[in-house]
Amino acid sequence: MSLRCPSTGKALLALAAVAALAGGCDRERRDLGASMPEGGPQIQTTDLTPGRGGVLPPDPRGQLYEKSAYHVSEGSRLFRWYNCSGCHANGGGGMGPALIDDEWRYGSSIEQIYGTILEGRPNGMPSFRGKATEQQIWQLAAYVRSLGGETPQASSSRREAMRSTPPRNQVTPPKPKGEGAPAVQGTAR
């Protein structure tokens, strides 16, 4: 169990030496309706890029939404409001595929999940283009990432409703980072 907010955690521990803690912890930052560069991220569903290069750099906004507890919790609210939980339940799946396992048919990076929500997928995933706003799709993608255990849990994974996904410490050890379906990882592998 890594300390999720390593810089702040250590800083708080060394209380005696109160260093200048610049930058702080953006886990909690709430930029309400802040103006973000418009237009969604570049989306690439496959790892195959003919010829050399072609691996897309990660979209900076992805990190911002994924790491922010506020945005992930807003994403979990929208996951219920927009009836995603109707098909995906609390991550286990139903009509739609499971989101808490590590099989990603269309890629597990936040940009690819953004693309899946925006454009929909042929086998039954509806397209939310023009329905959910851009920030909402980012928030939903960040929440789906946290469901899949790809990002640190925003807060306890307990839901107001039934304890559907086990609390963090009872989740079986983190899933092996298997290849799974095509996943465009930002970092060079």
Binding site: L3, R4, A11, E28, R29, V72, S156, R158, E160, P167
Partner: protein, 656 residues
Amino acid sequence: MTRPPKKTTGPAPSPRRPKKEATPVVAAPVIAAAADAQLEETWADAPGFWGWLTTVDHKRIARRYLVTAFIFFLLAGLAAVAMRLQLSKPENTLLSPARYNELFTIHGSTMMFIFAVPIMEAVTVFLIPLMVGARALAFPRLNAYSYWVYLAGALTLWIGFILNVGPDIGWFAYTPLSGPEYSAGHRADIWAQMITFTEIAALAVAVNLMATILKMRAPGMTLSRMPLFAWSTLVTSLMTIFALPAVMLASSLLMSDRLLGTHFYNAAEGGDHILYQHLFWFFGHPEVYIIFLPGLGFVSMITATFSRRPVFGHIVMVLALISIGFLAFGLWVHHMFATGLPRLGNSFYTAASMAIALPSGVQIFCWIATIWSGRPVFKTPLLWVIGFIVTFVIGGLSGVMVASVPLDLQLHDTYFVVAHFHYVLIGGAVFPLFGAFQYWFPKFTGRMLSETLGKWHFWLFFIGFNVAFFPMHILGLMGMPRRVYTYPSGMGWERYNQIATLGGVIVVVSVLSFIVNVLTSLRRGVPAGDNPWDAPSLEWAATSPPAPYNFAHTPVISSREPLWEQREVLPIMTGLSTAEREVLVTTPVDAEPDNRQSSPDPSIWPFVAAIATTMVLIGTIFSEWALVWGAVPLTIAFSGWFWPKRPRRGAKQEPQ
């Protein structure tokens, strides 16, 4: 009006272990200068920063508490000013809602947990050993540990605030808003751990004070001869010990709901949000009495000294204090009248809440009667007492008003209640506190505070306070709810909010004048001598500032006002070792000397234990395993702390 400093005469010969029925020895032979030097060396701290870290002298730690608590009082005051500026005009955009919610949370939490309780305990920790004639507190190292844990808690909250991770859920943090669903991230966890920190510190001090008062009073200071200040501290400590665990339980259960997925406060799975409110307010109401009961102790001491006569109806005052102590635990539900609890039950709590007006009414009568039958000397401390009576009674009466269920359904969570508790807490605790500063500053520092600046400070504070908070009664009656970051125009609230903001500014000016008074008096204040006010209680028998061992020889008490009864010479008792740190333990009721107890030496271990406690508590915010791995440093620190003391190598000197 300075009196010749009283010289404590030297030790009289007496058998090595005073017998059970040792009669106070009257003769006061010449001081053995050598004994004093020996005591000085035994009770001295290590020099420099290491000494500062390892000291267990209750006076140094109390000063540290005072300064730290006062700094956080200023910070919370600035938060209050920022809130007042935001509320000065309707639909203001000075502060964003998120920032305003963080500010009112940190203002409330700091004032309640980090300023009020600790500063009252600081003053009592400094004075109680002196007042009961003891050389030190019962558990000096526990006192040192409590300061460091308190400091850690205060810094957790404020560093969280600076890093924009601060709580924004109110000082009460009701679930489900503070629960995992509606408070993402660690804002609420930081609040919950701050509670655990500050409550550990407060419990430690309460235990310390009770033990000191009950077991270490000077011989002859029977319960009936104990000063009222000691009584109020005793009752406060008792209430602390019973009330604080409730909030620690509430915040720990909240933490386990948030991080472990338990369902204590999850209505869906059988939990209950009202459980949180019961646990919190079972602590919440005794907490406000814990804050202003020491204030009543200050008022009693100041009134007696400046009316030149003991407080009228000592027995009645003590009974009033004790009954407040018990009644305080019987009326917490008046904070929850609007939650839909059974109506008949609420009426019982109305009766209990109103019943507290009886003991406070009696106390007010006794103070006025003391002033009436004494010859009041209008020094600044007495001004603060008079200001206290004027303000606190308004707060008490508005308290009686909101105690009634139907009326509370209109006034609950409005600015009327904000006015009520500021009148009761500032009136009941801060007024006496400033009076106490003015009164005991000479004893703390050896210099007098200036009377003119003191009077400026009082009048500015009195006017500023009433201008700031009285209009809030009206705002509440005009329907303005609490904790709103802004309000619509056209409701008629603008005028009163502007007046309140103006009052706030005046209060800031008055506090500045107080700071100036303190800083200048520290250097250029008139040297105070032992008893500048010719006060009756025992602390004025020690030097100003008192020696590390407080009294060379433990005084023997034969009346409630020792320095007024034995005006010339104070009988003393000998027999405590000067080569080792020793304190006298006496029987609880009759203060008969019982045995001698060795008092722990200065040590770094309390500080290390506090660091270990901090690591555990901060760690649990991020992962539950910190509870497990944190046990290792804790064990090391506490075993180091309680490691048995090696007897001093040198020859054991025969005690004088």
